[in-house]
Amino acid sequence: MDINLLWIPLLPFLGFLITGMLGKKIGNKSVNAIACGLPILSFVISYAAWSRLVYEGTELHWSGFPWIWIEGLVEIPFALHLDGIAAVMCMVITGVGSLIHLYSIGYMKGDPGYHRYFAYLNLFTTFMLILVLGDNLLLMFIGWEGVGLCSYLLIGFWYEEDANCAAGKKAFIMNRVGDFAFLLGIFLCLAHFGSLDMSTLTDATAISALSAETLSVPLLGSVSVISMIVLLLFIGATGKSAQIPLYVWLPDAMAGPTPVSALIHAATMVTSGVYLCCRLMPLFEAAPAILAIIAGIGACTALLAALIAFGQNDIKKVLAYSTVSQLGYMFFAIGVGAFSAAFFHVVTHAFFKALLFLGSGSVIHAMHHEQDMRKMGGLRKQLPFTHLTFLIGTLAIAGVPPLAGFFSKDEILFAGYQQGFLMGVDSAALFWGISFLTAGMTAFYMIRCVALTFWGESRVDSSLEGKVHEPGGWIGFALFMLAVASILGGFLNVPEFLGGHATLGHFTGLHSSAAAHGAAASFSPEVLHAAEWKSMFLSLAVAGSGLLLAFYCYGKGHSLRKRFTESGVGRWLCRLSQRKFYVDEFYATVFVRPFETMSHLLFILIDRILIDGILVSGSALLTRGLGNWFRKMQTGFIPGYLLTFGCGVLLLVYMMLSLIQQGGAQ
């Protein structure tokens, strides 16, 4: 049967309309049915589309309708296209999304804004799917903005508290910064490619045709058009995917309900930056210099976020920073040309990070919205199932074979290793080193998180004694499904040297490394495999050591940790990490406050004084004055009127005669 792609985003949208408008009337039961049923339905459809792609190899396309259509100038259709990447993304979004919808039924029970919540969630799914399926950059941008909006709405979902609203605003503004660059990128594309269709933007001939063109940019001098476009798009991606320097909104975004954090700020939305890069792979590969920058930023973000994650006591904050860090990994992978690895990590990360967030969610739910890990501990007994799934997630992210995280992270690290050492790119080597260390840290702080939350003796305060118990039902179901996914997810893309076929990589057609297209494509398989083994062992070693260290610190004897935190340097480092390296404060002083003061000044000068004062009031006063004067002239005194009349006649006649005289004179 024929599949119309439009249904995939349309169904959640219908859900949004119904739950949004009629939510109050139709009651929570039917809200559940609709809000969860429709995304599941669209999951089924995207599965069907995916299978069409797998078994018949037909990339579905919905040519839609002419949207912005100026003949011969701009011709942008409203069209959807589904290729390998999009298919996988769709399944991830709708699949994980549906699970999180189900989870929310349990988690949001009894919330006053129940139907509003599900309406937003459905709307988010819609926009995310548009973002993924959009066949041109503009349509993608619509989705891009849409998900931003939904994230804003959902972060500030409990808008009674100012902090939540502030967080929502922060996220929105940070994203605006990125979106601005993104828009500029789109304009550049339109200007130089003459079209925004993905097919054109990824067309090798079109790109090579543009490769010579340059344009002079202030501060940068003359830059090649391609690099400029890529740079701008990447800046846009840093906004959405929380990279340096625009990452600070993501941790604050944890103010939203935990399922939201799981869906939007871990599994789907934040990865859309990576998706953008993958979708436009040929374009990005055409700008090697920018790729190096991307690798650098990715690696540094990974490291910084990991360092900050050490010091956090809020369980969700830890997960948030780990998300930032993992995103850093993905961009590092893109930087070193391993698009397939990056995309693979997107998928696996969606699984285990959603799992972790939902786990933390069930903890928080059980603890009656207590998020501080210092008030937890020893929850293993009360929440055995949650503990199990959370541990699975932790091991997955830490990169313990054969869990999902292991394969993807290993691929990334190998790609860096390959470019750094086999191809001898020094910068790549350096960045590999950074992300290599980060792998160890990831293992460490994740175990720390587990230990503080579930192990050791309970620090739960007495009021909650005996109240804490396993939330079953949908929550359990979602956790279970995701746990399975995080265990098996890795096998989507088992590399050759382990006897796999890199299925995902081939299916999406993304390059697995810079070598695949670079000049040094000719490494013999033996060399490659040897290198891969080596890097795998290295990463295993570092992850293992991280795990062991963490066990040692947070296990029975606390001597080491104590000694470290007592020591001056240690205390200093801890505070630095807890304070998130003072980045927020830095931004506040350097950008926010000067901007505020300046805008206030301008408001006083331009608005109050110039416009309101002089232009508006001034002119009003003038007209009023004249008006009153004219009224005064209307004395009501008949001889006065007659005199006015007579003088008018005399004046006009005189003017007439003088005009005639002039006429005669000429």
Binding site: V653, Y654, Q661
Partner: protein
């Protein structure tokens, strides 16, 4: 205005004068008028110059058939008089159209008669209206 008068003064732009066209009876009329004015003025001057002048209150008082005068000579007219006067003006002046018609009614023929009839119809209508409205009763 100066220019206008200068313009009018220019005989050249007004070639025709009425001198040759105004017939003599107008002139005789004017002489008659002049004579009456002159005679009147002369007589008054004479009496003023020749008459003796002995004044006392009796003489200076208003002479009213020998009896002492009753009140001021200027009596205000009643409003009704004004009303009648106004109406009189109207209907008096409207006859101004009848005179020229009387001169040429033969030449104008039936259509002229009809038009005049229409004019008079409207006029008479007005008269009847104010009559029935009681504008003509004196009290």
């Amino acid at each position: 205005m100066l220019q206008l008068s200068a313009f009018l003064a220019k005989e050249s732009s007004w070639p025709w004068t009425i001198a040759n066209t105004v017939d003599t009876d107008l002139i005789s009329l004017l002489t008659f008028a002049a004579v009456t004015v002159i005679v009147g003025v002369v007589l008054l001057l004479l009496s003023e110059l020749l008459g003796p002048r002995r004044r006392d209150p009796q003489k200076d008082s208003v002479y009213e058939c020998g009896v002492p005068l009753l009140d001021d000579a200027r009596e205000p007219f009643t409003v009704k008089f004004y009303l009648v006067a106004i109406l009189f003006i109207l209907f008096d002046i409207e006859t101004v159209f009848l005179l020229p018609y009387a001169v040429v009614y033969k030449q104008l023929g039936i259509v002229g008669l009809i038009e005049m009839g229409a004019f008079l119809f409207v006029l008479t209508g007005g008269l009847i209206y104010l009559w029935t409205r009681g504008a003509l009763e004196w009290d």
